[in-house]
Symmetry: C2
Subunit: 305 residues, 2 copies
């Protein structure tokens, strides 16, 4: 099924304890599109880039069958640029530079050809822009949204308004606690679901993820990554793997939602192995399915007599 991805397309400067890159392709829509491209080839990207956007990056999207009719090229400035440095403990990072550039004027216009997308991924952008997307599409089967503390604190009203049109919210644990103003994660999850989203995924980084859907909770393990190289984009990649799997299978039953969470985790576990989206450029189906099976082995609880 067709998948509409709306979010940022950017260049990132990244420093981790293991290396440094001055400029690498980034942005939420980039990671979501690349990760989902391993499962479905009907990906429609809506975003904006500037006059400096490289042909090789355009070609990367095209090579993954990502449709770029919705990618605006704004020649009045450069592409969104973010620069950050990770600490020794990779869970923390400092932002060193943020140049919004053409992204500051981003107005998501959905091409007619995209409006019937069955699956919609709203990457982490301003909530009012996310809502603008929802006004342009024709009753998708599933709207999945990401957000962050910046919007929870800065534009809570717009965020809560947008949440009403969202089917599945994907946020991390600190965001869930802040959004619900509640330290207990399970209670926080219930409160967030009362705000609109039928289902909720709480990402817990190295501790895996929790899926709340229907009456059940699914606890997904994290992959025990020894060689984590660069965490940039892991969350967006998770969302991409998740949505790619759902669009491919077109099955929103709780059991398949579990598979989707693991597929998101699988793709994120690959993503962190190299800088930026490098690792997402040439994965194989075999590697993906093999890691899925590793996740299964990791969490098997044997029955008792």
């Amino acid at each position: 099924m067709s998948l509409l991805v709306v979010g940022s397309v950017a260049y990132d400067g990244i420093e981790t304890p293991f290396g440094k890159t001055d400029r690498i392709l980034g942005g939420s829509a980039t990671y979501i599109s690349l990760a989902s491209s391993y499962f479905t080839d009907k990906i429609n990207l809506v975003g904006v880039v500037g006059k400096d956007f490289a042909d090789e990056d355009i070609n990367l999207f095209k090579s993954k069958n990502v449709d770029l009719e919705g990618l605006q090229v704004d020649d009045s400035g450069n592409t969104f640029f973010w620069k950050g440095k990770y600490h020794h403990d990779l869970n923390m990072r400092d932002t060193l530079d943020t140049q919004l550039n053409v992204f500051e004027r981003f107005d998501p216009v959905i091409p007619d050809a995209y409006k019937d997308a069955r699956f919609v991924a709203l990457g982490n952008i301003e909530p009012s822009l996310q809502e603008k997307v929802l006004h342009q599409v024709n009753k998708p089967d599933l709207v999945v949204m990401d957000t962050m503390n910046f919007w929870i604190e800065g534009t809570p009203d717009a965020l809560k308004k947008t949440l009403k049109g969202v089917d599945l919210l994907v946020i991390n644990d600190s965001e869930a606690r802040e959004l619900a103003n509640e330290p207990n994660l399970i209670i926080a999850a219930n409160k967030v679901r009362d705000m609109g989203p039928d289902s909720l995924i709480i990402k817990k980084g190295e501790h895996g993820a929790l899926l709340f859907t229907g009456d059940e909770i699914f606890s997904a393990p994290a992959y025990p990554v020894i060689d984590i190289f660069d965490p940039t984009g892991a969350g967006d990649t998770f969302m991409g793997g998740l949505l790619g799997w759902l669009a491919y299978t077109n099955d929103l039953a709780p059991e398949n939602m579990r598979r989707a969470v693991i597929m998101g985790s699988v793709m994120a576990s690959f993503c962190v192995e190299k800088f930026g989206p490098e690792r997402l450029k040439n994965l194989t189906e075999e590697a993906i399915y093999s890691r899925y099976k590793e996740f299964r082995r990791l969490s098997v609880i044997p029955d008792i007599d």
Copy 2:
């Protein structure tokens, strides 16, 4: 199989956001013994209490078939007393009072009748005392040990010496990182296992636990507890459920170790529902096995075709 439990027996004063108790039975050996008593009735407790230790608490142990030949009663003072207050976020607490009392002079003497115990639980006490226990027992099948940051920082040499005689170390994630001086939990686990313990369990509180045994890693989910009332003793209760299950089944294969981790998690999830060890006083086999099955449902990853 017989289980030897060595640790503290104490009275605790506890304040949580949900209530307060001035004095309730506590201590690592208490929680370990009570939790394991649901699986095996050959529990031998070694600890020390003071002249204030109540008959009703003696009777509680006896009612759970905990042998008290090794429980020293030191009339020269009172029982170890700890008082603490939990924050709104129950992951943090302040110690308000610590009176070591007779525990300050605790010298674990293992009665002859206990020396052939097949399973040994070394609760969180001074590492040199834990080692003293190991010198008195006759080649147990499994020595399980707990420790804490206080000993990792205060007596690292004694701790590392004791670790050489330990088969399974049970610590939390911050302790594992500190002991290995390594932020990546998976690498930290490998470093800790190089210090002696064949197997390692890293408890992650609300995020579950990781078991490292042989060549495999098991990721155990946490039970989604909404009504967490008092976290005191949860870690010791985990160890008790784990060891009780292992002593009952007498099976140290990796598959059964997974069951033991879940049984520990089951018992800990009950423990936090009430003050101190209250909830451990009258559980039923049905409630325990039913919650085990809930843990299984929580973490099932469906196969893909």
